[in-house]
């Protein structure tokens, strides 16, 4: 609990690697009503591969660091594999244990990513 704000999380929050917009890509949006986090992800998907993906939005350190790291993880991956990512993997990725309230923040990115990969289906 006490290392929730680990260096890496603060660093990712303050210096995100995957902020921006993928022009002409698909997009999905979600909010976390509890704290007003807003997240939009745009992506370019080709031949079942996540070619490029970026995010825009505002929120707490946990939600923003989490999505930033998640996008690293899924870039260049097969859509089928991305669909299999579980919530618990987010916690592993962040390397912290989350309370149920903070899970909502941390999983926001995954929620939007799931929307994106399901858009691809159509």
């Amino acid at each position: 609990m006490d290392d929730l704000y680990k260096e890496i999380i603060i660093d990712r929050y303050q210096n995100p690697q995957n902020r921006g917009v993928v022009e002409g890509g698909v997009e999905a949006f979600e909010v976390n009503i509890l704290c007003g986090d807003k997240l939009k992800i745009t992506a370019k998907i080709q031949d079942g591969i996540m070619e490029d993906v970026k995010f825009e939005g505002g929120g707490c350190a946990i939600s923003m660091a989490s999505v930033d790291m998640l996008l690293d993880k899924i870039k260049g991956k097969k859509i089928d594999d991305i669909k299999k990512i579980k919530g618990s993997e987010i916690e592993e990725m962040l390397g912290v244990e989350l309370t149920s309230v903070r899970k909502k923040c941390a999983y926001l990115g995954l929620e939007v990513v799931r929307k994106i990969v399901n858009l691809d289906k159509k």
Binding site: Q14, C35, G58, C60, A61, I62
Partner: protein
Amino acid sequence: MKKIFPIYQKHSKLAYLDSAATALKPKSVIDAVCDYYSFYSANIHRGIYEISEEATKKYEEARDVVAKFIGAKSNEIVFTRGTTESINLVACGWGEINIKQGDEIILTVMEHHSNLLPWQILAKKTGAKLKYLGLKNGQLDLTELKNILTSKTKLVALTQISNVLGMENPIKELATQVKNYNSDIKILVDGAQAVAHIKVDVKDLGVDFYAFSGHKLYGPTGIGVLWARSEILDKMEPLNYGGGMIKEVSLYDSILADGVDKFEGGTPPIAEVIALAEAVKFVENLGFDFISDREEKLMSYLIEQISNIPNLKIVGQGSSLMTFVIEGVHTHDVAEILNRYGVCVRSGHHCAMPLHEILGVEATTRVSLGIYNDKDDIDNLIKGLKEVGKIFKVKLPI
């Protein structure tokens, strides 16, 4: 003061600074709930036996206590589940009868969702129009009022104290202007954030409806009050039909009870009503001079201390609550780190999304005071805020 709030026995280090969300409960209020369930837990207005009579008597006495507290008569006090239900009762029970297509309802941009959604829904149902009073220099802009009042205006609904900005709105002045324009226009006041901090006299305010919740007044959850003059109540419809609110029932028709009983269908929250009266007595015994003196002094101390926190910007401030943002740190993270110091604050949009939009901030952190708070609580808050700065490496502006 903390001694009479049992929660501190379990959490001796608690720095509870979220009284605007709900206030802690003094022992006398908790005892009142316990006593009802322990010693006379009978239904009211029914049994011809002793404990039922005792419960009925205490329930109706509670109405008298609450009435006196806000300068009203007992036959004008309707018990509801809280501010939200009180406002919905007006929107449905009065609004649906009196608001027609093309009519106008005036609100302010600082309203809590509870004093916004009922009117949005009513406007959609009836084809009425919503109009808004805005802000000027962080205060309600009353000068706009004369420009938006029209012959179509039927209702003005606004909060007495903002749960985000903290300031007290000039209700009396507004009421005078509105009634001078057209005395048929009704005025509803959301008193949720006011009743625990300032003396309220509904007659003196010159308004028509007043709504508040028990739980922000050191009382129980699940109980609130709607005040309206009896002439208005007589012509309103209830939210709930059923037992306890009728005079006569036959298979195809019924006659509703007179007065406020009409609005209290079903078995009410008896313990909560009785304990609400206990909460009112608690506040009255302290007295509003004492309460505001204490809260104002503590607020000055808070403002003085918090001004030293780097990159902290105060968004709103009244005598019992203030909201702020720290640049570069999300309010959720602020609240989380403060929690490690036993400090409870509210983070988010405080059920006032439109206001946050207008203020241009996504979310804020709110510190609100209750009668139990002291300098230790503020000191803990400041300690926590310094830690926030450390963790997020917030730099002093150059």
